[in-house]
């Protein structure tokens, strides 16, 4: 049958970012010990406060156990088999892009992130992170004119040590959880953003993370601070080559907003997901949390999670300031043997705090996709409100979707509303669209983007269309 043939053709869509850049890499030996933590800190010429931070985290980590409450199954991770630092060999200090290895620039160009002056995106500043280090940040000078700091966290540690020391680990403490402790001990690079009082960041900021080496873990650390009345929109993207071994990605992202400040944080995660039998792929264990410290401040998370063999991720908001607002918009798509356990935590501490959760899970193939969310109303959260909507879409009859909403309220004058639904893309729906002249791929993508519209509307314009396409690509061959 023609439809069956179409399905067959589409099944083998390759992962388009699966190439490896052939570049000389400086790696340290496998394994983790106090010496390794000290070595990473020494390589990065860090001040003592940061070495102490790392060592404290390492000691805490040693006493902790890997969490097992998520609806995920994977072989035990051997933390001594991972390389904790890998960096492309290049000149120590890159004063300008001209000094960056052309192979690296080429890699990012291939990923659709041109960095050179002529080709770079006109309205988005990019920090490009390759394995453990940031290789370039665009528009630094232009942003500096507005007082905005946008650089790699390694650079921030050197140039803006006071800011880093003041905020690092204040939202996600070193002993917050197993993976956050690990990250705090060995984090290599990531981005630092500081928007001073009253400044609206003049352009989108973006970090692109690329894992290149096999057997290397990526432990990025991102810290974004918006002072009183400041605002910024930030986007991260991620890809990795196809290896048949699993790689660990354990990131920590901390956001802080002071009075009337807002941060919009968007993620398009497309790490390598493993093949259709579940061989290879990234283990993505990420801790993301924002703290609305100031009154009327706002933190909004939007995530499009399409990659990784395993996703364990709960971007959260601590709504401390009165009238502060937290949002979480998520599309998580799993196919083949992917597993995702993702959601959010909205911790309402201040009065009249508001939160909105919109989660869209799409499960295809033999995958498993769980929403896990906590809404907590503290004793002082008088008049606080939460609205949650969790929708699941099943494609085929081998995939699983679960919803685990947790609600804890210590405040009678707080309102929590939760809605959930499950639907399925059926062969009959596809046939209906096809019988109106709409091709198979377009039909799938129409249905999926219809399902995800509420979330895609939250993405920055430049990336919304991209996300739509990415989802369609990931789903090809999963229906029929």
């Amino acid at each position: 049958m023609s439809t069956a043939a179409t399905v067959g053709d589409l099944v083998s869509q390759p992962y388009k970012y699966g190439f490896v850049t052939d570049i000389q890499t400086e790696k340290i030996a496998k394994g983790l010990s106090e010496d390794v933590v000290r070595l990473i800190s020494a390589k990065k010429e860090e001040p003592s406060f940061l070495l102490d931070f790392r060592l404290k985290a390492y000691k805490q980590w040693l006493k902790m156990e890997e969490p097992d409450w998520a609806a995920l199954g994977h072989p035990k991770i051997d933390y001594q088999e991972i390389i904790y630092y890998a960096a492309p060999k290049q000149k120590d200090k890159k004063a300008s892009l001209d000094e960056v290895d052309p192979k690296l620039l080429e890699t990012f160009e291939k990923l659709g992130i041109p960095l050179s002056e002529q080709k770079r995106l006109s309205n988005v500043a990019v920090d490009a992170v390759f394995d453990s280090v940031s290789i370039a940040t665009t528009y630094k000078e232009k942003l500096a004119e507005h007082g905005v700091i946008f650089c790699s966290i390694s650079e921030a540690v050197k140039e803006h040590a006071d800011l880093v020391e003041r905020y690092l680990g204040t939202v996600v403490p070193t002993n917050d959880n197993y993976f956050a402790a690990l990250n705090s001990a060995v984090f290599s690079d990531g981005s630092f953003v500081f928007i001073p009082k009253g400044v609206e960041c003049p352009m989108e900021l973006s970090t692109y993370f690329r894992i290149n080496s096999a057997d290397t873990g990526q432990f990025e650390r991102t810290l974004i601070v918006a002072e009183e009345g400041a605002s910024v929109s930030y986007l991260e993207g991620c890809t990795a080559p196809m290896f048949d071994t699993n790689q660990l990605h354990a990131a920590v992202v901390e956001l802080v907003t002071l009075d009337d400040a807002s941060i919009k944080y968007s993620t398009v995660q497309n790490w390598y997901a493993g093949d259709e039998n579940g061989v290879g792929g990234i283990y993505n264990f990420v801790t993301k949390r924002g703290q609305c410290r100031g009154a009327r401040s706002k933190i909004s998370w939007t995530q499009v999670e399409t990659g990784s063999a395993i996703t364990w991720k709960y971007p959260s908001c601590v709504l401390q300031g009165a009238d502060s607002v937290g949002e979480f918009y998520s599309v998580a798509l799993t196919n083949h043997r992917q597993q995702a356990d993702t959601g959010t935590k909205m911790i309402h501490l201040g009065p009249r705090t508001l939160s909105t959760i919109v989660s869209k899970g799409i499960s295809a193939g033999h995958s498993s996709n769980s929403y896990r969310g906590l809404v907590q109303m503290g004793t002082k959260a008088i008049g606080a409100k939460n609205y949650s909507q969790c929708d699941s879409m099943l494609i085929g009859d081998q995939a699983a979707a679960n919803t685990y909403p947790y609600i804890r309220s210590q405040q009678p004058d707080a309102a929590v509303e939760h809605e959930a639904s499950t639907c399925r893309i059926s062969a009959d729906q596809l046939f209906y669209l096809q019988s109106r002249g709409i091709g198979f791929e377009e039909a799938v993508s129409m249905m999926v983007s219809g399902f995800c519209r509420d979330v895609f509307n939250q993405l920055p314009m430049e990336f919304a269309a991209e996300a739509d396409k990415l989802l369609a690509l990931k789903l090809e061959g999963s229906v029929g």
Partner: protein, 267 residues
Amino acid sequence: MIRPDAPVLLEISDLCARVEDQPILKGVNLTIRAGEIHAVMGRNGSGKSTLSKVLAGHPAYTVTAGSVLYRGENLLELAPEQRARTGLFLGFQYPVEIAGVNNLEFLRVATNARRTEQGLDELDTFAFEDLVRERLGVVQMDPAFLERGLNEGFSGGEKKRNEILQMALLEPLVAILDETDSGLDIDALRIVAGGVNQLAGPDNATLLVTHYQRLLDLITPDYVHVMAAGRILRTGGKDLALELERDGYDWVDQELARLGAEPAEVG
């Protein structure tokens, strides 16, 4: 309107098809010329719904023998979307609901797919909106339905009107309407039948698949075919439908017994 010299749009010869392991169509022969209205009648399980789905290319059905020529070309080689783009239309008995897909946007994409095939320019949202508002009149549909999800929460009658609206936009050469009358009250039936009559013309053809005479009171067929056990047992004019209404289908069993055929069970 029967014109012996009108071009043949659809020529079905000895068509056999099965769903899973169950043979359903067992040698259907039917020729449809431009300008004609055909009605296929029969009991549940006679194969008449299967015939319409096979013609539209539903993937659950496998053609095991026979041929279908559409404007002289092999229809069975075409993907369902290609059949639609070239002017074959199936009005569904049970149109599915597709939440989240905006009805207006869906209609526009479908219309443009057909227009592109015809070598016409695609319509932008404004031009399309003008067209769709004009065609809404054919089925007296409330424009509010355009802003809803595709068939989402539509009543049975609203879904059928939406089907005929699609037909009015796509301007098919061959429109196959599968039990379009089922689930309609008399007012809705009049509106839907009125829409079909308006759209029927000398260059296109209509194939009505129906259970009851009542639709044929409103749309006058040129030919009536009685289907049973996966084939067309008898063909006549519009009077044959009246005969069926009066005498029922009992004679069909006798006829089948005479032919030594077993009645099909699915349809």
